[in-house]
């Protein structure tokens, strides 16, 4: 379903296939740095710069026309963004969807009900009644998108193609703001021409990159320039965006979608209480799996879910002789640029 009608979203837990199936193109509100810094009168400076920059865009009307915005109640900052958005743009349609912090059966069932609530709301915004068969079609499209991203990313990273990560991020950004139908042909072309498209870079140091929001292409260029090759990532604006969605004829579609979202890689705020801070071991395992020589964490300032768990991540990586560099970001290129010397020194140390 190719459409120009947009519904905004701000968090990678947002169920994009539902938005798509309701007749909209999901449009990620990136924290662009080109709006007036005005969110401070609504949200305090000690809140995540990601949400404040999105709110800046909202206040500044620096957004395309949207039929509504879907917010996930995933962390304090996201909840506050919903509050701030309603204050700044009271006439916008907006919904806040609860997303449990744990992945047990009752949480999965509850989230399925929340997805059903979202589905009804999306169709209310449309003024029509939804057809469940469209969800299946959209899930199929998003599964294609996931497979293509997975294959292309894996090939680029395996071949260590120079500027490959820049290309991947560029496509992730495009896939976050445009209908999936626009991206699939581009990925297919790239998939077919991958070996000749980009140069090999065997001198760089393989790095596993994790954290929350990092979408600026210049940031990935900076990693390249500093001699790092991102051999795998776990970012809200990267590999966590798309995941396989398994559906069966017997199971409720919302339940299937809920299960799939809870089966993907989590950011720090979601966890299994049976394995506290398994998040740290997951990072270790992912870094080992891609043969990284070091790990870079890019975490936004004031992001409690990450900041409170990072010391344990550092400890686990240290025990396994994997150096960690933590970069605190504020969604501006200025802040990542200032880290250049640190990144260079880190890469030099790993050579």
């Amino acid at each position: 379903m190719l459409t120009n009608k947009l519904v905004g979203f701000t968090c990678s837990y947002t169920p994009l296939p539902l938005i798509h199936a309701a007749g909209y193109a999901p449009y990620r509100l990136f924290p662009l740095d080109n709006s007036k810094d005005s969110a401070g009168h609504i949200l305090h400076d000690n809140l995540c710069p990601h949400v404040k920059k999105i709110l800046d865009r909202g206040i500044d009307n620096n957004t395309p026309e949207m039929s509504g915005v879907v917010f996930m109640n995933s962390c304090d900052a996201m909840r506050r963004l919903f509050d701030g958005w309603r204050k700044a743009r009271p006439n916008d349609k907006a919904i806040l969807i609860d997303f449990p912090a744990t992945s047990d059966d009752s949480a999965i069932n509850f989230f399925a009900l929340e997805l059903s609530r979202l589905w009804k709301e999306l169709w209310e915004w449309n003024g029509r009644v939804g057809d469940l068969s469209s969800i299946k079609q959209s899930i199929s499209i998003y599964n294609d998108l996931y497979s293509l991203f997975s294959d292309v990313t894996s090939k680029i990273r395996k071949a260590r193609l120079k500027d490959g990560n820049l290309k991947i991020q560029e496509l992730y950004n495009k896939a976050s703001t445009e209908p999936p139908e626009n991206i699939i042909p581009i990925l297919k072309n790239l998939q077919a021409s991958i070996n000749s498209a980009l140069d090999n870079d065997s001198n760089s140091v393989p790095i596993f990159l994790f954290g929350n929001v990092l979408y600026e292409l210049d940031a990935f260029k900076l990693f390249n320039d500093c001699g790092a090759f991102i051999c795998d990532d776990d970012l809200c604006t990267g590999s966590r965006l798309f995941y396989p969605i398994n559906i069966t004829e017997e199971e409720d579609l919302f339940l299937s979608l809920s299960k799939s979202i809870f089966s993907r890689s989590f950011c720090a705020r979601t966890f299994d209480p049976k394995y506290p801070l398994k998040f740290a071991e997951d990072i270790l395992n992912k870094a080992k799996a891609c043969n990284a020589k070091g790990v870079i964490a890019h975490v936004l300032k004031f992001c409690d879910p990450y900041l409170i768990r990072l010391p344990i991540v550092r400890e686990i990586l240290k025990e396994n002789s994997l150096p960690l560099l933590v970069l605190e970001g504020d969604c501006t290129l200025r802040s990542i640029g200032q880290q250049k010397t640190r990144i260079e020194a880190f890469i030099e140390m790993l050579r």
């Binding site: 401070g40 009168h41 609504i42 949200l43 305090h44 000690n46 809140l47 109640n73 962390c75 304090d76 900052a77 909840r79 506050r80 919903f82 509050d83 701030g84 309603r86 204050k87 806040l96 609860d98 449990p100 912090a101 744990t102 009752s106 949480a107 509850f110 009900l113 720090a268 705020r269 966890f271 209480p273 049976k274 506290p276 801070l277 300032k301 004031f302 409690d304 879910p305 900041l307 409170i308 768990r309 990072l310 010391p311 344990i312 550092r314 605190e328």
Partner: protein, 404 residues
């Protein structure tokens, strides 16, 4: 060390209360029960649990578990003047100085092995992401089982059922972790006590609304949030009754909490926890009284003893910090009107994404009903950053403004 501290505090408070047995001694009785909880936590004998703020303490109390939310430790360390060292310790071990100081204080104490090992832990998504992350850290450190309550944002049938089912799972979890059998009758008795304490607290709060108010700025400090630890027990009833009686006696005799009360104030969220006589100074300088704290209110209906899990779920969801800011702001407006306040103070504890994070929305919301708010920048736990002169100047100017 901590056990001795609480034991000494308990005996000294008992002695003081016995000196005037006919007086309600509200604050002393409250402090005595806090000391007893602290003593049990550090006794090494009781079954204990570290928890988040939104936990149903009546369920844990009736199962014989001494439990406490982790932020209490931060407040306690601040009140003894020790929080600075622990916060420094947390920062030295890699915890960001931008996060909540309540949480940094406990993480520092945790790394220095000053937190007693629990039998289990219960985290809650309410009120904040940071608190839940701290609990997860603690579960890993202690290698103890963790249960998490996911608190939905709105009071709907679907959400109440989800939470009440989780509460039943919590009971099963506690049984498994401790070997203690759940006794439905004990919970019913506990809920009766919760309801009784609730009624007495409502009476006390209604008396506090009188003009002049029988409360001074200090007597209800931290009362609502800490008394939750005593729900389901006789101690909870005893403390609530002492407050009701003390306020009733004052109202009967026409005695106000603050002599010549002129200014009535609302305190938003937490008080300053380290020793500093801000409230006394406001009383003496301006006859200004904090008659109501945001956290001193009953936002829930009496719980049906035959269906306790549903009632407790409704209670947890009703906490104004839960969910959207508009719910919290509506509650603040309600308090402002009920207590006829002239202004509100928001300390904006650094690192708190609730009190500080919502401050612009709160100020605008209260402004709609003509209640001005002064937003301070106080770290309620870390005295090292306290700019006394600046705070006093701002409050003095604020009070002067509302006096006019």
């Amino acid at each position: 060390m901590m056990y001795e501290y609480f034991k000494n505090l308990e005996s000294s408070l008992e002695k003081k209360i016995n000196e005037t047995p006919k007086s309600p001694n509200a604050r002393k009785k409250y402090s005595l029960e806090v000391a007893r909880i602290g003593k049990r936590l550090y006794s090494g004998k009781d079954k204990i649990a570290w928890t988040g703020i939104g936990v149903p303490f009546d369920i844990l109390n009736t199962m014989g578990i001494t439990s406490c939310f982790v932020e209490f430790v931060g407040a306690m360390l601040a009140s003894t003047g020790a929080s600075g060292n622990f916060i420094k310790e947390a920062e030295n071990t890699g915890y960001a100085s931008d996060s909540c100081s309540y949480h940094r204080a406990i993480l520092g104490a945790l790394s220095q092995n000053l937190i007693p090992k629990p039998d289990f832990l219960v985290g809650t998504t309410l009120p904040c992401s940071g608190g839940l992350a701290v609990i997860e850290n603690m579960a890993r450190k202690f290698k103890k089982s963790l249960f998490v309550l996911n608190v939905p944002q709105e009071d709907s049938l679907q959400n109440i059922k989800y939470l009440s089912d989780q509460l039943k799972d919590l009971v099963n979890f506690i049984q498994k972790e401790t070997g203690i059998n759940f006794d439905e009758n004990k919970l019913k008795e506990g809920i009766k006590k919760t309801n009784k304490a609730r009624d007495l607290m409502i009476e006390a709060y209604n008396l506090a609304k009188k003009i002049p108010s029988p409360v001074d700025s200090r007597i209800l400090k931290d009362f609502g949030i800490v008394t939750a630890l005593m729900l389901g027990t006789d101690a909870g009833i005893e403390v609530a009754k002492a407050y009701r009686d003390e306020f009733q006696a004052k109202v009967n005799s026409g005695e106000s909490g603050v002599k010549g009360e002129k200014i009535r104030l609302l305190w938003i969220q937490n008080r300053i926890q380290f020793r500093y006589q801000l409230e006394k100074w406001m009383e003496e300088e301006f006859s200004a009284s904090i008659v109501i704290d945001e956290l001193n209110d009953i936002t829930w209906e009496k719980i049906d003893v035959d269906d306790p899990f549903t009632g407790i779920a409704k209670r947890i969801i009703s906490i104004p910090f839960n969910g959207k800011a508009e719910k919290r702001i509506e509650h603040l407006k309600f308090l402002a009107k009920e207590y006829k306040i002239q202004g509100a103070i928001n300390p904006c504890n650094w690192g708190c994404r609730q009190g500080t994070g919502e401050r612009g929305l709160i100020s605008d919301g209260l402004k709609e009903i003509g209640v001005p708010v002064v937003n301070l920048e106080i770290d309620c736990i870390d005295q090292r950053n306290f700019a006394e002169g600046q705070v006093k100047t701002r409050i003095a100017a604020f009070i002067e403004m509302i006096s006019n």
